[in-house]
């Protein structure tokens, strides 16, 4: 009890660090909530298009102008090349369509007239180009078969008016899952940084050479003393994990009562144990309290950035993700990311989850082995 009680007293001195990392997690979690809620509304945007019609505004030409006008914002710019170029440069227009002379006649003759365009090259311009291509492709195909202009216009308009019904069969609550994934991804930083910082600080106090000497010569079995310290640290890490899991229930409660929720919890538990072994390894290597802060930043922040805890994995370059494979955080985040897409839970779909968890467990074993080797070597030197 003496060792455990002293452990708690030393831990009490580190409580601000735990509070700090929890506040960071909660702040980013809350920030994510607000940004995710905004993304539930979608309004289609229209490109700003200028049509310069050099043909007569009748028949198929008029129909083209009407179609483009109805599906875009029609911008009025002086019919002056300099003014047009300026408007394009300042992004007042995304796309300019120059309808050539005899466009109508060429279409009716079954030809494919060339249309000159100017574009800003952005996604709005691409959308305008898509509208134009869609119209002309349909027009050219029908014009080869239909010679009557009114019928041609009618056929084109009917085809363009056709809509495809899309039914979303997935029952996944993607918004809630995204929030949970973000929370648990970010929690990897809080767990790793919190565990390493606090455990290393506590162990550096107990392992200080002078205090260690005093403990070794005492009548308490030194192996027993170390066992108590190990259990105390494990309890601390588990308490930290339980605390973060409880917060996840508060933030994304609904998701946590699903199979995905169970996987998030199991995955974070395995990761917490791995973080604990990393903390033991570092505590064995470093005994300087001032150096611990720097090491926490390098390991926790570094792996969180490299593995996608702070930014979505899909935004990270392939080369970065390749490097991230050597870090346990990567495998932890991969499992969280999978939760956003897996709908049917069976052995086959859960296989990558088990593999990811297995890799983290393997990392844990490796860290334990390295820690043992180092501490044995240290004892020999002493």
């Amino acid at each position: 009890m003496t060792v455990f009680k002293t452990f708690l007293k030393v831990l009490n001195k580190c409580k601000f660090v735990i509070i700090l990392y929890t506040v960071i997690l909660l702040t980013f979690g809350a920030f994510n909530m607000t940004t995710s809620e905004n993304s539930t509304n979608f309004v289609a945007s229209k490109p700003d298009v200028l049509i310069i019609n050099n043909d007569e505004n009748v028949g198929v030409t008029k129909n083209l102008v009407e179609y483009i006008t109805n599906n875009s914002n029609n911008v009025d710019v002086k019919n002056n090349e300099d003014a047009i170029n300026d408007a394009l440069f300042y992004r007042e227009i995304n796309y300019i369509i120059y309808i050539p002379q005899n466009y109508r006649q060429d279409i009716l003759d079954g030809k494919n007239p060339e249309i000159e365009i100017k574009s800003t090259g952005d996604y709005q311009a691409s959308y305008a180009e898509m509208l134009l291509s869609r119209y002309i492709n349909i027009e050219v195909i029908y014009a080869k078969e239909i010679k009557d202009e009114d019928k041609l216009i009618e056929k084109i308009n009917n085809t363009l008016a056709e809509q495809t019904e899309i039914e979303i069969t997935s029952k996944l609550d993607t918004d809630s899952l995204s929030k949970a994934t973000f929370y648990y991804n970010f929690a990897s930083y809080s767990i790793l940084a919190g565990a390493i910082y606090v455990i290393c600080l506590i162990l550096s106090s107990f392992n200080e050479t002078k205090i260690r000497k005093r403990t070794i010569i005492s009548s308490m079995n030194y192996k027993k003393h170390n066992r108590i310290l190990l259990i105390s640290n494990a309890l601390l890490a588990i308490a930290l994990w339980i605390f973060y899991v409880i917060i996840s229930f508060i933030i994304v409660g609904k998701t946590m009562f699903s199979i995905q929720g169970v996987i998030y919890i199991v995955n974070s538990f395995i990761f917490t144990i791995c973080a604990l072994t990393i903390a033991f390894l570092i505590a064995n290597l470093v005994n300087n309290k001032n150096a611990i802060n720097g090491i926490v930043n390098v390991i926790a922040l570094g792996s969180s950035f490299l593995c996608g805890a702070f930014v979505p994995v899909e935004w990270l370059p392939a080369s970065v993700l390749k490097v991230a494979h050597i870090l346990p955080t990567y495998w932890y985040i991969q499992t969280n990311e999978l939760m956003k897409t897996i709908e049917k839970f069976d052995i086959e779909s859960l296989k990558p989850v088990f593999i990811n968890m297995g890799v983290i467990a393997l990392f844990t074993i490796i860290f334990v082995i390295i820690t043992n080797i180092i501490s044995k070597r240290k004892r020999k030197i002493a």
Partner: protein
């Protein structure tokens, strides 16, 4: 007298260097044994070997009649150690620190509470119980260090240079505390390179150098080893070489040194040396300011045995 610690032929080698060379000695029950020697003489290495903190190359160590090993927890419960460096938790208060180290030995809460109170009283830290180590001065920290090492009431206490870099007031308090511990029945092994401390504190002294025992005995016995009986110092200005030569001719004079107005005369043996010297100075009409006589110190003994000063 019962031997509490028996060290026989202890040798500790670091590659080609012998830190302890065939060292043998005993510590008697209830005594304060001083291990005296210059820095690097092997005092701390000897203590570390006795406590099984260091593996030794040869020899045997018995404490309370049993062989001392790293897992001799039945022996360790009777040992208390105070190292030169302060070994306490920065995060714990004075009381909590003593409680932790005492708790490594004493499980019973009530007994521990009583022992902690007594330890705090012994070192005079009653007013600082709730202070953190960083709030304490160097001297108070040393006292806390001692309290942490003795709170469990050990039968044998090892003190490894506990007064290094300590102010005179704290030093006196520490030395008084050690005497009290001995009076309470503890056996104490005290290592230091301060000969004054050894002289006033220790019942028996072992002089070490280069890992070897040079001499063992009480302070008076050791002083007999010095070939001088008396040392007289006189403050004289402008002493002429022929006058020094005449002093050298006096009976029992071993050596005469004159340096910066100080004349130091060492005598081999004999009585009334000081009286004869004063008479000679009168006869020669030599004026002097101050004159005093000293018995040989342990430093003289060390000088006699090794040819160098203990403070070197």
């Amino acid at each position: 007298m019962k031997n509490i610690i028996e060290v026989k032929n202890l040798t500790k080698e670091y590659r080609n260097l012998k830190a302890i060379d065939d060292l043998s000695f005993e510590v008697h029950e209830g005594e304060i044994l001083g291990l005296l020697g210059p820095n690097g003489s092997g005092k701390s290495t000897t203590i570390n070997c006795i406590l099984s903190l260091l593996k030794f190359s040869k020899g045997s160590i018995k404490i309370l009649g049993k062989e001392m090993k790293p897992d001799s927890y039945d022996i360790k419960k009777d040992l208390g150690v105070i190292f030169q460096e302060v070994a306490v938790f920065e995060e714990l208060t004075v009381y909590e620190n003593i409680d932790y180290f005492c708790g490594l030995y004493i499980k019973d809460k009530t007994t521990r509470k009583k022992y902690i109170k007594e330890a705090i009283e012994l070192v005079g830290l009653e007013e600082f119980k709730k202070f953190y180590p960083k709030q304490l001065s160097g001297g108070l920290l040393r006292r806390l260090n001692i309290a942490c090492g003795i709170a469990h009431k050990p039968k044998i206490i090892f003190l490894d240079e506990p007064t290094v870099a300590v102010d005179p007031q704290s030093r006196n308090s520490i030395l008084d505390g050690i005497k009290k511990l001995r009076d309470q029945g503890a056996t104490i092994v005290y290592t230091t390179h301060y000969m004054e401390e050894v002289e006033i504190l220790c019942d028996r002294i072992i002089i070490l150098d280069k890992g070897k025992v040079l001499a063992t005995g009480t302070s008076d016995k050791l002083k007999e080893l010095a070939k001088i009986e008396e040392k007289v110092t006189i403050e004289i200005n402008n002493l002429q070489p022929e006058q020094i030569e005449k002093i050298k001719q006096l009976e029992n004079v071993d050596e005469v040194n004159y340096n910066v107005g100080n004349l130091i005369i060492t005598y081999k043996k004999g009585k009334n040396n000081l009286g004869e010297l004063i008479e000679h100075l009168k006869k020669e009409n030599i004026k002097y300011n101050k004159i005093y006589s000293e018995r040989p110190t342990l430093n003289d003994v060390f000088l006699e045995l090794t040819g160098k000063e203990l403070r070197d």
